[in-house]
């Protein structure tokens, strides 16, 4: 047996490698599931900041239970301690201290912390270590003149505000150890205004003291122990144990807050996805490799037919002969087990190094060995099945090199064709899901490959005969070679499968990446979004306008406001022109009708001055009312804060007509803008008012305002009660026709549209009627709006919000509501640009709080179960191409003697070496090309079938609509790459074959 293995050493090596490959594929499943699960955990752990990565045990003191940190630490579940660092206990008591004699007391925290003196640097004095001693911050020492030696009188709020004397013994520097303070905010409060009831007082930094200060006092204090999570000790397996262990004993008053439950949930849901994605990838690769192993073993068995014939001729039984072959093949197959495990471990290591966060550990458990044994058993079973044909053949049949029953594979082909058809129909009719559906693309490729291989052999003979006299001899020889070498069918089958898998995998990666990018772009809106702390959108717009060119053209202001009602949509305000140039349009929907958001071309009227004045004429159209009242006339002005205020300017008698010059204070010391004109009865709302006010002039400090053109005005759409103030031209000026119930009728200046046009994403607002609704303005006020377009998604607000013109909203003015931000979007992600913009804003008092980048959002999606799973597609496709190339080698290694002998014979009768090379290379590249084309087709069908079944995100996203359009460029590129590798291997095989076709080969009988 060993001599036989040595005689076919290359074949032995290939069988070993293929057995190892099958084993590796099977072993990789548990390994990758584990590693990717660990990756999810590490990724989540990396995202936790030092405060989020804490388990905090907390309890409030009561007069009867003056607990210390040590008391509390005893309640921490002991079983959970291996996964946490040393707990840091602390007591914080709220108290009040007067910063100066006679000043209102300021709220302040009296804080002790374990090993405090090891972590605080004293600028002056010493660290407090006795009861009643405190250290104050350097800022407090500077602001309030506090120094060591002074006493502070604090109030023990838990003990009827009993005054407690605290001796200052030191002044501490700004704490600089986040790992010790774990999110506790100790400083940064000194000197700030702090509300205290109805008053405002000066803020004070924490007073640091020794734990002894709290002994027997300060019953209102909070005691806590913080345990930093030992992230490097946490694994998926231990996380589950930790989650179970991290439970407080019943009856305790303490509360425990930790990130562990959220982590466990994230890992569990991630693993659920991995169980879907990994089998999809590895099952296809495993199917390919198993098919390769089976076909290779079949070729190897076929090559041993004469040996079996000899054994039978010498009296060995059929079973014994077959057993001898299976045993011989079992040696490399079994040796493939450790090699396969090693390959899988190496592959897992590569994936951990390239794809996953650092620190993901390798876990070798029993599933690995079970998978290894399963993988090897699969190849052994393939050997047993492949050797079955030996039992059926007679000795004379066995003496022929190839099986006489060329059509023996029809049953397997038929089975796979039926499976493929069932799968395709099942998926198309949505009646097939799960693993069977996911395996369908590969089954389809297998069926096509097997059928094409058989078909090719059938037609090759005829084509050879047809081309024999009409073409160069190489063409006919290539055809004949295909016809008489059944093992070439294996190449067709495997290359078809490999190229289908490669095409499918590359397309899946491209499509997934495209969808993740679409989502990331939708979430951020532009390449980079600088989130500022500005409270007024106009401030940011003004600041940006001061940027030098071309930087000014590379940025745009964006306003966002979210109402308190979470179900209501967020308002996104941006400049349509800038957005078209700098932002990302939402994918998967109709193009945004940004032109519909265009700002009115009427500039705002700035009102700066002291006095408003003018002349008006009133003509009543209602005759003489029974109880005539005064009709009041005024303007509304818009402050920079967005507040809209009335300025009451004139009063005329309702009855008859009246001409009047009017004047009144503007009361806009910071400047304001003209917003509207109004008219109302001074009393008795309900009695109709009807008439015409003709405004002859309107001026500020005597300077007329150019506002008497009726096109500049429009009625206020929000006026109710049948109130209408329409405008028209008059020879005397601007005629205001009023029809009202006596309430205020308003006409609005046209620098803001009557109804702000808005693009709506998602469901309609609850107050929407005939396309009109109120949107949540950037000032937090309702703004009349109309729906200009409905789209599935909008940037940042996704599927719940409206998009409006930034300048329109800025004209409305106002400060942002609590849930509002002003951002600066730019298409430039380079640090220098961002730094320049940030510094420019900062110089104008606007701080950039955070920076959102599309690349970071994309990275976050890539660092997920689905992201990694699809990243594995790349590994899978590379492996598939290499497997296909190996198949050419395997076939060459198992049949080179025969081919070389045939070529030697042909050369003996006149075939040139060049023609021989041309024939073999044409045969190798020709069948490879056919198979790659078939694989391309199968990959395309597979993309259509299976791509919708692959989760692209860990958590399904509703927008943008998944764009599963196949990437034809990617697919053809993948097919081309596959052909390049396989074709190059074919040419190398051809060269090797021809070089071995020496006259000595003519003596070979085997």
């Amino acid at each position: 047996m060993w001599a036989a293995l040595a005689y076919r050493r290359w074949q032995t090596v290939f069988v070993l490698l293929l057995s190892a490959s099958v084993t590796a594929c099977v072993v990789l499943a548990p390994l990758l599931t584990n590693s990717l699960g660990e990756g999810i955990l590490k990724s989540r752990l990396e995202r936790l900041d030092s405060v989020e990565a804490l388990a905090t045990l907390r309890v409030g003191r009561t007069p009867g239970h003056l607990l210390t940190g040590a008391d509390l630490a005893a309640e921490f579940p002991q079983a959970a301690t291996p996964w946490f660092g040393e707990g840091i206990g602390g007591i914080v008591a709220p108290t009040q201290v007067a910063t100066r004699p006679g000043a209102l007391p300021s709220p302040v925290s009296l804080r002790s912390r374990d090993r405090l003196c090891d972590h605080v640097r004293m600028r002056v004095g010493r660290c407090p270590h006795a009861a009643g001693e405190v250290a104050v911050s350097a800022a407090d020492a500077r602001n309030w003149g506090w120094a060591p030696g002074q006493d502070l009188i604090a109030a023990d709020l838990g003990n009827q505000n009993r005054p407690v004397s605290l001796a200052i013994v030191g002044v501490y520097d700004e704490p600089a150890e986040p790992a010790y303070w774990l999110g506790a905010v100790v400083t940064g409060k000194s000197g700030l205004s702090v509300p205290l009831g109805t008053e405002t007082v000066a803020g004070v930094d924490d007073l640091l003291t020794a734990p002894q200060t709290f002994e027997g006092a300060w019953s209102q204090a909070d005691v806590s122990v913080q345990y930093p999570l030992a992230r490097d000790r946490l694994t998926v397996e231990s996380l589950a144990r930790l989650d179970t262990a991290l439970v407080l004993a019943p009856g305790t008053l303490a509360t425990l807050i930790s990130p562990v439950p959220n982590l466990q949930q994230a890992v569990t849901s991630g693993q659920h996805l991995l169980r879907l994605v990994i089998p999809l990838l590895l099952a296809q690769l495993a199917m390919l490799v198993a098919a390769v192993a089976f076909l290779t073993v079949k070729v190897a068995v076929g090559q041993r037919r004469p040996e079996v014939a000899l054994a039978r001729l010498r009296g060995y039984s059929s079973a014994a002969s077959r057993r001898r072959i299976v045993t011989e093949l079992a040696v490399p197959v079994v040796l493939g087990l450790p090699v396969g495990v090693a390959i899988a471990l190496a592959g897992d290591a590569v994936i951990r190094a390239l794809l996953l966060p650092s620190g993901v550990s390798l876990e070798v458990g029993w599933p690995l060995w079970a998978a290894a044994i399963l993988g090897t058993a699969v190849t052994l079973a393939a050997s047993v099945v492949a050797s079955r044909e030996l039992s059926a053949d007679s000795i004379l049949d066995l003496l022929r090199r190839s099986a006489p029953h060329a059509e023996r594979g029809w049953l397997a082909r038929g089975v796979f064709v039926v499976l493929a058809v069932v799968g395709v129909v099942g998926i198309a009719t949505r009646s097939l899901t799960g693993p069977l559906a996911l395996a369908t693309p590969m089954v389809l490729a297998l069926a096509v490959g097997l059928t094409a291989g058989a078909g090719l052999v059938r037609i090759a003979g005829r084509m050879g005969a047809r081309t024999l006299t009409r073409r160069p001899p190489a063409v006919a020889l290539a055809w004949f070679s295909v016809a008489r070498r059944p093992e070439l069918r294996s190449i067709v089958t495997i290359v078809t499968m490999a190229s289908a898998l490669t095409v499918f995998a590359v397309n899946a990666v491209v499509v997934a990446d495209r969808n993740r990018a679409n989502r990331a772009e939708l979430e951020v809106g532009a390449a980079v979004a600088l989130v500022t702390d500005a409270t007024r959108p106009a401030d940011v717009a003004q600041a940006l306008s001061g940027l030098p060119a071309p930087l000014r053209d590379q940025v745009m202001p964006v306003g966002l406001a979210t109402p308190r009602d979470a179900s209501a949509g967020t308002t996104l305000a941006l400049r349509p022109g800038d957005y078209r140039r700098l932002g990302f349009q939402p994918a998967g929907g109709p193009p945004l009708d940004l032109a519909a958001l265009a700002d009115p071309e009427i500039p705002s009227v700035k009102l700066t001055g002291q006095q408003l004045s003018g002349r008006l004429r009133w003509v009543s159209a209602a005759g003489s009312p029974s109880q005539p009242a005064e009709v009041r006339f005024g303007v509304t002005v818009r402050l920079r804060s967005g507040e809209i205020l009335d300025r009451d300017l004139a009063s005329v008698s309702e009855a008859g007509s009246d001409m009047q010059d009017f004047a009144g204070p503007l009361l806009c010391p910071q400047g304001c803008e003209l917003h509207g004109l109004w008219l109302r009865r001074s009393r008795s709302v309900g009695a109709p008012v009807e008439g015409v006010v003709t405004l002859a002039t309107l001026a500020v400090d005597g300077i007329p305002l150019p506002v008497l053109d009726p096109v500049l005005w429009h009625p206020d759409p929000t006026s109710g009660g049948g109130r209408m103030l329409s405008v028209e031209r008059s020879s005397e000026g601007l005629a205001l026709n009023v029809v009202s119930d006596g309430g205020t009728a308003t006409a609005l200046y046209g620098d803001v549209p009557e109804r702000v046009p808005a693009i709506l994403a998602g469901r309609a607002p609850s107050d929407e009627h005939d396309g009109q609704f109120s949107l949540f303005g950037l000032s937090g006020r309702p703004v009349p709006a109309r729906i200009a377009q409905r789209v599935p998604a909008l940037p940042v607000v996704l599927d719940r919000g409206v998009l409006v013109n930034f300048d329109t909203m800025a004209r409305l003015g106002g400060e942002l509501p609590a849930d509002g931000t002003v951002q600066v979007w730019t298409d430039q992600a380079d640090p220098s640009t961002l730094s320049a913009v940030t510094e420019h804003l900062q110089a104008r008092g606007i701080r950039v709080r955070t920076v959102e980048r599309v690349s970071e959002h994309l990275h976050r999606y890539q660092q997920s179960a689905t992201g990694w799973g699809l990243g594995l597609e790349v590994v899978t496709s590379v492996a598939a191409v290499l497997v296909a190339a190996v198949v050419l080698l395997v076939v060459a290694a198992t049949s080179w003697r025969m081919v070389a002998r045939d070529l030697a014979s042909l050369q003996a009768v006149g075939l040139s070496r060049r023609q021989a090379y041309a024939a073999v290379s044409l045969e190798q590249t020709g069948i490879s090309a056919v198979a790659v084309l078939l694989g391309l087709g199968c990959g395309l069908v597979g993309a259509w079938l299976a791509l919708p079944l692959i989760p692209l995100f860990d958590t399904p996203v509703s927008v943008p609509t998944a764009d599963l359009t196949p990437s034809l460029l990617g697919m053809t590129g993948a097919a081309g790459g596959c052909f390049l590798v396989v074709g190059a291997m074919g040419l190398a095989v051809a060269a090797s074959m021809v070089s071995r076709a020496t006259p000595d080969r003519l003596r070979d009988s085997w």
Binding site: R312, G315, W1006
Partner: protein, 303 residues
């Protein structure tokens, strides 16, 4: 088995009765053997002659149990091969029948030496608990004891054929079946192989049936059987050749006689002074001619 030390072993007799073998090829039946009646006595050395496609190799394959006859019976020793199942045929080949395939190298595992090939061939017999001669003795019998450890790939064509013969002898069979054992050999190698066969036959008494086209080989074999059109066409021995009356009474005419007695021609067979004479039918004008020629069987050589 050393001729000097081993007791002479009795060869196995071989007998066929109406042996027919039909191949099915591309949907058509082709009769390779059309009723062979042949008796080879124990220890006899017989060469099967005949043109290509006459059925010689088929007959050899049937003797070896490599295929089963379509009709008729084959007896090897006491075994009616038709009665043996596959296992019994395997057992027969392990100890009773040694087979030498055409193309010497096809009989040998190329990655083993001659000795290892012999040992491999003895494996089945040993598993059945049969006694087999030491490999060295087998090699010595064919004159290969000095080259027994050479790998097959390094041996000369003549030695490869001798090794193939040694492998066939590995189980000390009573019948050796050799298909073209001297083809593709030069004269010297051919004589060496033939010498080995004759030595084997003379010293051990093994029955040997070989197929050959080589007239030199035929000349040195005591008995030749010519297979023609699936039947025994003639036999010879000691330099002469004679026809053989088949079980159905037919006698194949020699080829040269067919020039006189064309297939389909009526003939008359009569006794003439103790001898049997075959002569053309004189026709209806003759003294005792029948009104119409008698119907004769179809096929060449029928009378």
């Amino acid at each position: 088995m050393n001729p000097g030390s081993q007791p002479r072993r009795t060869g196995l007799p071989v007998r066929t009765e109406g042996l027919v073998h039909i191949y099915r090829s591309e949907g058509q039946d082709v009769a390779a053997l059309a009723g062979v009646d042949l008796v080879v006595t124990a220890g006899e050395l017989v060469a099967l002659l005949g043109p290509s496609g006459a059925g010689k190799s088929t007959l050899l394959g049937l003797f070896g149990g490599l295929m089963r006859p379509s009709a008729g019976r084959i007896f090897v020793g006491n075994h009616n091969l038709a009665d043996l199942d596959d296992g019994a045929l395997d057992a027969l080949r392990s100890t009773e029948v040694g087979f030498v395939l055409q193309g010497a190298a096809r009989n040998l595992l190329p990655y083993l030496s001659a000795r290892q090939n012999v040992e491999f061939a003895q494996g089945a017999a040993l598993r059945q608990g049969r006694e087999v001669p030491p490999a060295d003795e087998v090699l010595a019998l064919v004159g290969l004891q000095a080259d027994g450890d050479d790998l097959v790939g390094t041996m000369t064509p003549g030695d490869i054929q001798l090794a193939a013969l040694a492998v066939a002898l590995a189980g000390a069979p009573g019948l050796i079946l050799a298909d073209e054992p001297t083809s593709q050999l030069d004269d010297r190698a051919r004589d060496g192989v033939l010498d080995a066969l004759l030595r084997l036959h003379e010293t051990v008494g093994t029955t040997v049936i070989l197929v050959t086209h080589d007239p030199h080989v035929a000349a040195r074999v005591p008995r030749t059987v010519t297979i023609r059109d699936g039947r025994v066409g003639a036999e010879g021995g000691g330099g002469g050749e004679y026809a053989v009356v088949a079980a159905d009474g037919s006698v194949p005419l020699p080829l040269e006689a067919l020039e006189v007695f064309a297939p389909g021609a009526p003939v008359r067979i009569r006794e003439d002074d103790g001898r049997w004479v075959i002569e053309p039918w004189p026709g209806p004008t003759g003294p005792s001619a029948p009104a119409t020629p008698p119907t004769v069987g179809q096929g060449r050589g029928q009378s």
